[in-house]
Amino acid sequence: MEIIKVTHLKKTYGDVEAVNNISFSIEQGEIFGFLGPNGAGKTSTINMMIGLSRPTGGHIMIDGIDAIKDIKKVQKIIGIVPDENNLYDEMNGFENLCFCASLYGMRKKEREKRATELLKQFNLLKASRRPFKTYSKGMKRKLTIAAGIIHDPKIIFLDEPTTGIDVESARQIRELILDLKKQGKTIFLTTHYIEEAERICDRIAFIVNGKIVKTGTVNELMENAESEHKINLVLDNNITGSRAELENQFPNYKIKMVGDNSCLIISQERIALSPLLQLLDSKGISVYEAKAIKPSLEDVFVKVTGIEAVQLRIEREKLGT
């Protein structure tokens, strides 16, 4: 069942088109990933969906409610984890959670019980009486996520949940996200970590310059890249001298040198190894290793968006991970 439907959504800031006529829908209980570099329009899209920003055009329906006309109704059933940890520094972990719960009208007993449960679940019980400002980055992120789900929302918006934190905390957060999915929650996740999207999202949309360029499950997205077959050969000798003959014999194969004793065979069809090995053998070249290269989501992203994955890595490094 479709729980979120976004149609022709637009957001402009002066001359800048932050979000340019995007449409997508999300099924109940699925993890939907929004993958794109910084400034692609991910946060702008989330902000419009949660009521922190007004769309320039388009429609947003969340659980049957028009989110543009009746955002306060929508805010009752959604949980939001922003890209920055925005809890109160002076308050301790427990107080922060209780305060966030009270904003949703939860009574004292109920919110204290729920806060304790979440602190246990997020492994923060020991630090629960310490001020938020004394928490590590990972702890802050976990508490911010706990605050976003304190009122047991149906839909959760996670904006870059693992950005800027250590590997172990990021792993724990990914597990928590998968746990939330098991509980039947619908999750809208923005990230610029390709591996993260690949690992936990049911469906992914690539967003670049405010436009969605591709949407699908990881397998659907991979199909696109799998139209090309690649085999990496490790040899005992350099084949530069025999390359022309190889290309003549196998006109459908593209041969790319990778280092001195290694080459990549690329073809639109499946690659038949025996004739290739026979020819190399006749030239006195032994093949030590032949490995099929499976495309990664990163390859698909690069192919579809034209953005080098390196750019995403640089952004990640800038953010301190």
Partner: protein
Amino acid sequence: MKTMIAFWSILKKDILNYYLKPPNISWGIIFPLSWTLMQLMRSEGNLGIVELLPGLMAMSVLFGTTSMLAVTITFERKGRSFDRLLLAPISISILVVAKILGAILFGIINAFIPVIFAAFFIDLSRINWGLTIVAIIFIAVTSALMGLLIAVSAKEVFEAQTLSNFFRFPMLFLCGLFVPLDKLPVVLKPLSFILPLTYGTDILNGSVTGNSVFSAIINFVVMLAFVILLFYLCQRNIKKKWIL
């Protein structure tokens, strides 16, 4: 009921996190006290404490409410914790009232510091306390709403402080506190009539010393109009500037 829980929590959080912090408590006491001593020294004994009270009370409320609210909101906006409040399923009006109520209470308490100080020296039984309290509440509400308006326009804490002073100091000199309204230059008189503090101070003058320019009813009606106008402007500006 759910809205009331959220409302009370926001108010309680602000009181505990900001208003009851030692620097603010001491500021709330020292500031009105300094004003009192400054005025006494300036008058060289010619001015009675009773005559000083309306001005001191008005100034304490004005400075207490505007500065605290503008600074705390800008601080929360900068740390983005204010987004939590905007994302809560409560109306902007409830949010505005919850945010300003802490500042109003802080301002009202500030107003009574000079009164407590004066009570040691003079007989305050002739003061019309009913009128005084209503006037202080009105001054506190309008000042808090002005603080909120400033907070909506400021991005940084220092910006909020600068903007606050830009409004507060001219208001102090034009509201009849230092220079009586009838002695103000003709060019400045119209300006003084568009400031809420002018009417609040006038009620206080009437209730404490018995000398007021307008009748209490006119003053209250004008103050009420200011409250409605400022409340509307605050809501409109929050929607316009914070929900982009």
